[in-house]
């Protein structure tokens, strides 16, 4: 009894002390971590001194990054880059902490540009852009520009992409041929006709991994068709007045639901994850697979010449669209020790050599120069369609990136509820906008 009582007293005391102590202090989190931020004058001259840079990225990009680093080190023998990688499914969670740490890497993947710039964790790259005469197309850097009021979309540059990830429609030429389809669809109408043909013949029309939000790619294409590229991009960039609750968004949702009702997706779409969907498509189990350039190597290996890629069709031919953004957007954290050397790496990312490395790894390159060569025919189709899209400018970022939590808290559950009928198209659209407002306030 006695022991119990005294322990209780001690515990209660400790709790009270802890509470009091913390209440008395100011709130959690502060800007003290920025105290060791060193400033060095912007320069493109890296001297001869040995410098060791630290780089941080997602583990899935190790091969790509290692090749970039190797080529960069050859160019700058006095600089070595030590890379560390976090698993891809946790890099988004760790990102904000890593770039704000006191011992932050010099070059880091920027996972959430909003909070990174708002918290003043990144170096403004404008002076480097001027010094190196960077010239990237607006569509590739728009989402890494932030103005003085903290709004994304224009203003100073804070990150540089190393390659492009884009969405599009894979199709299986062999399956198509058996159905009497010889050309990829270039309009939504044709796409729907092709899907009907497949479905009538008992072939799965579209591989749809809705467990992890794979529905959003084709949905975003429809949304871009109905609302226009700028409206979609403004919403993603959190421009004031932008809203998801539009007629076009509801119309696109209704269309997706009608495809579900027509049996164009597999019965287990809601429990189907991306990698299972990929392996089934590679197995020849569906006509279309709306996904992204990141699978081009796997699909080319599996299907060879039967693998086809086409940009998401618009309402009429020539109105194709895609969601595209950086494979990794590299920025320089404010606490980085060697900012000039880090900027040299960002400059290197835009060189012909780095563009070739991007293509070798299956990604469309940054910049606007000639398309580097590749012997992967599917990737070649991806590159060509991207080149066209850069010209028309009909690309947006991913709606999944509009806020940090929109994907897991609204897009994934929203599409699942839309497909199984728990939500109407209007409710679905409103649920996305509600989560968006919750996070952007």
């Amino acid at each position: 009894m006695k022991i119990g009582k005294s322990i209780k007293t001690i515990v209660a005391g400790a709790m009270a002390m802890a509470c009091l102590a913390s209440m008395a202090a100011c709130g959690p989190g502060s800007s003290s971590s920025q105290s060791n931020a060193t400033s060095e004058p912007v320069s493109t001259d890296l001297g001869n001194e040995n410098i060791e840079l630290k780089l941080w990225d997602g583990a899935g990009l190790k091969t790509f990054d290692d090749q970039l680093i190797e080529a960069f080190q050859k160019k700058y023998p006095n600089i070595t880059i030590k890379a560390t990688y976090d698993p891809d499914n946790t890099s988004a969670q760790n990102g904000p902490r890593i770039i704000s740490a006191a011992d932050t890497p010099d070059i880091a993947r920027i996972t959430d540009i909003n909070s990174a710039v708002r918290g003043k964790h990144l170096v403004n790259l404008d002076d480097y852009a001027k010094a190196y005469k960077w010239n990237l197309p607006e569509s590739q850097t728009e989402v890494y520009q932030v103005d003085s009021s903290g709004k994304i979309g224009s203003g100073s540059l804070y990150a540089v992409p190393d390659g492009v990830s884009m969405t599009g429609l894979y199709w299986n030429r062999k399956v198509a041929k058996e159905l009497g389809i010889t050309e990829a669809p270039t309009t939504v109408e044709q796409l729907e006709a092709d899907m009907k043909k497949a479905s009538d013949a008992g072939v799965l029309a579209m591989m749809m991994p809705a467990k992890e939000g794979g529905t959003s790619y084709i949905y975003q294409a429809l949304l871009t068709n109905y609302e226009g590229r700028d409206a979609v991009q403004d919403w993603i960039l959190q421009k004031s007045g932008a809203t998801f609750a539009t007629e076009g968004a509801v119309k696109a949702a209704k269309q997706i639901k009608s495809w579900q009702d027509a049996g164009y997706f597999s019965k287990d779409a809601l429990a189907l994850d991306g990698s299972t969907a990929l392996s089934r498509f590679c197995n020849g189990e569906a006509l279309f697979f709306p996904s992204g350039s990141w699978y081009s190597a796997s699909i080319n290996d599996a299907l060879g010449d039967d693998a086809g890629w086409v940009a998401f069709p618009g309402e009429s031919t020539g109105k194709e669209s895609a969601a595209a953004n950086a494979v990794t957007a590299f920025g320089i954290p404010a606490n980085a020790k060697h900012k000039n050397a880090a900027a040299a790496f960002l400059n290197f990312l835009q060189s012909e050599e780095a563009r070739q490395i991007a293509v070798d790894n299956g990604y469309p390159p940054v910049g606007e120069g000639d398309v580097p060569s590749t012997d992967n025919q599917l990737l070649m189709q991806v590159l060509m369609s991207y080149e066209n899209l850069v010209k028309t400018g009909n690309t947006t970022d991913f709606i999944n990136n509009a806020t940090a939590g929109i994907q897991s808290s609204a897009i994934i559950p929203g599409f699942q509820s839309l497909l199984d009928g728990t939500m109407t198209s209007k409710q679905f659209v409103d649920s996305i906008q509600k989560q968006y407002e919750k996070e952007t306030k």
Partner: protein, 299 residues
């Protein structure tokens, strides 16, 4: 106790103080790694904070959100529903299985049955979540079995349908908890005096009578432990849900564990996540506390 203390007044330190000295190292760890984080979580829950930058004090606003946002309190309701699968069914079935195993004649058979039933417990919840995702898929083992015995119409995408997903997740939990309950209850049965059963049989008491009048009362302590452990694992479940459904489809299987993780690390609302965690902790204590009293209170 008091009388004994007064007869030996020369003790240099009171018993309580000495005991505390022995407890000190463990208490220190407990304070640093348990109490301090709890206190910190309570502190965070009063702020609007993204985990890195400056925070703003919002008082009890976060708690208001927890109990008014249907997504958040809905996740708490789901976890209570899971108690049926994580606790009640495994304990009831576990009891019956334990008694059956006790009655088994062959020693080998007894050992074999125990190992088989306990095996799931050795597998991490995350791995079980992945394995069951495959088994519950459209063309998975469960549906194959159903189709094989002519029940193809009952086949379902168990985790992909809002009406069945929470129950399907519950089944995974049941599979994980059953072995634990059986083994614990078996060890309890071993401690019951065998002569009681013999006497009861002589008096003509059947299997059910023995179960209710000897086994059950004799297992009171073990059942208490089973209930406590399994209820906590239901209310604080994370791994199984995270690996099998991530809270979907829709929000039909969202539980507070996954929600807290998501709020804190994906949405960067550390304050709100902390408030939900604190609410969950209080709820667990409110459920488990009285339960402890009920089972262990009267001797």
């Amino acid at each position: 106790m008091t009388t004994r203390n007064s007869t030996k007044p020369k003790r240099p330190l009171p018993l309580g103080a000495i005991s505390l000295l022995f407890l000190l190292p463990a208490l220190l760890f407990y304070a640093v790694f348990e109490l301090w984080p709890i206190a910190q979580t309570i502190w965070y829950s009063l702020y609007d904070w993204n985990g890195i930058d400056e925070s703003t004090f919002v008082g009890l606003d976060n708690y208001g959100t927890v109990f008014t946002d249907p997504d958040l309190y809905g996740s708490i309701l789901h976890s209570f529903y899971l108690i049926i699968f994580f606790s009640i069914i495994p304990i009831v079935l576990g009891l019956i299985i334990a008694v059956l195993i006790k009655d088994m004649k062959s020693k080998m058979g007894r050992g074999f049955a125990q190992v088989c039933l306990f095996l799931p417990r050795v597998i991490p919840g995350a791995a079980a979540g992945v394995a069951w995702t495959w088994m519950l898929a459209d063309k998975g083992t469960v549906n194959q079995l159903l189709r094989a015995i002519g029940l193809g119409d009952a086949a379902h995408v168990w985790l992909g349908d809002q009406s069945t997903s929470l129950n399907a997740v519950g089944v995974i939990g049941f599979w994980l908890q059953l072995g634990f309950c059986v083994v614990l209850l078996l060890s309890g049965i071993g401690g019951i005096d065998q002569s009681l059963y013999e006497a009861a049989s002589l008096d003509g008491a059947g299997w059910w009578r023995q179960l209710f009048h000897i086994t059950l009362p004799g297992l009171r302590g073990q059942i208490g432990v089973c209930l406590t452990m399994t209820i906590i694992s239901a209310l604080a479940s994370f791994d199984v849900v995270y690996m099998s459904t991530q809270g979907g489809p829709g929000t039909s299987t969202m539980v507070p564990g996954v929600q807290v993780y998501r709020l804190a690390f994906t949405q960067q609302s550390v304050g709100l996540a902390s408030a939900l965690a604190v609410a969950l902790m209080v709820l667990v204590l409110l459920v488990v506390g009285p339960l402890q009293r009920l089972v262990n209170g009267k001797k």
